[in-house]
Each structure stands twice: as structure tokens, then as C-alpha cells.
Amino acid sequence: MERKFQKVIAALEDISHFVAEFADSHQFNQELINAINLAIEEIFVNMVKHNPETKDDISISIDIEGSILAISLVDRDRRPFDVTEFEAVEPNKPIHQRRSGGMGLHLVSSLMDDVKYEYFDGFSKILMFKQLEI
């Protein structure tokens, strides 16, 4: 299931409806729905904030491949920027000693089993995978 969303933060509400539509058709529980929403939001917001040069819609797809949930977000990007290489927050450090930023990526890697980055023909693609309990 794939859909395009305007590259603005306000699109998050429409994205949550998209996730709910997919989740309803597969009878996902609320914990999984929240995990999907959170993972997509963190990557989507990252694309909106850190790649403002391009205004094209962001394409989001959610699929089930066997027992694996596969999520991808594709954003037009003038140069490769591998968000998965960005240093995530250090959750064991005292709050006053943590640098700002990186919390969202840390949450994504906590919720998903695998996160990958691809760059092709001027597009950045983030792929996230999660083993489903069947």
C-alpha cells in the first residue's frame, strides 16, 4: 500500500489515517500501530526538516512480505544523506549531558528490527523492517 504526502509537518495527521487504514485491513494491535506511526513520523519529520531544498511529495509505502513488515519513505534529494549514519541519542547519559537531536532515530532503531538507506536517481529511500508475531 503506497501513498504520497505533501512535504509538510501538517501531513502527519493524514499519515496517521493512512497507517490506520493499513492496520485495520491486517488487524494490527495498538502497540504495533503506534510503533509504525512513530517510526514513520520520525523519518518523515527528519526529511521535512533536514531536506528543505526539495518540495516534492514524500512517498510512503507499507507492505507485509511473509512475516516481515516493510515500510519505506522516498524523498527527492539532491545529494545522498544517510540518516542511519547520524549519531543517535545516548539514552544512558544524564539528561543534562545529552546533546540535542538524535532521539527520533534512536526510537526508530529501538522499534524496528532493521533500518536501511538507499540513494538512487536523486531520491533518498529509508527502508524499515519489523518481524511480525504471527
Binding site: S16, E42, N92, I95, H106, L107
Partner: protein, 94 residues
């Protein structure tokens, strides 16, 4: 739909989805907090790093003023997100 309001006893009530699109709305209320404060999350369904970042910002500001920010009535999903974020000890979340 995210809502934030102040109850009669001074608690801040959060409800719905606290995502990145709601930060300005939350800041308008949470930015006014001074002194010890309770955030009641009983009706909060969802929070992302944007919401957590807002709460951390308020926590730090109050800490510098020798005041405390307490989170109460978190559902399991919200607790899990705080757990992943390494924030359970600081907010006394079990």
C-alpha cells in the same frame, strides 16, 4: 487530535496524539509553567520524539528553577517510548 489544558487543580492535561505538528500548541501552554507541575497523561494516546523533546525542555527549565515536573497516568505505549528514550528514572516511570 491533540488537546492540552489546565485543570482546576493546576495539573496539565494532555490528550490524543502529541506529534511534531502539535509542538507549538503544547508550547503555548507548557511554556507558561512555573513552579512544581504535574503532567497528567491519562488520555494521551501517542507521543513522538517531538513531544518528548518538549517535555524535556520544560523539565530542564523547571530543574534550573528548583522546581519539579512530574508525569502521571501514562499508558503502556507512552511508558515504552519513555523507556526507549532512557527517561524512566528521571520521571519516576515504572
Amino acid at each position: 487530535m491533540f488537546e492540552i489544558k489546565v485543570s482546576a487543580n493546576g495539573e496539565i492535561l494532555l490528550s490524543g496524539r502529541f506529534d511534531a505538528s502539535q509542538v507549538d500548541k503544547a508550547k503555548a501552554v507548557m511554556g507558561q509553567i512555573s513552579g512544581d507541575c504535574i503532567l497528567n497523561c491519562e488520555e494521551l494516546d501517542y507521543i513522538s520524539s517531538a513531544g518528548i523533546g518538549m517535555i524535556i525542555e520544560i523539565y530542564k527549565r523547571l530543574y534550573d528553577q528548583d522546581a519539579k515536573l512530574q508525569l502521571v497516568n501514562l499508558n503502556d505505549h507512552i511508558k515504552q517510548v519513555f523507556r526507549y528514550a532512557g527517561l524512566t528514572t528521571i520521571f519516576g516511570i515504572e
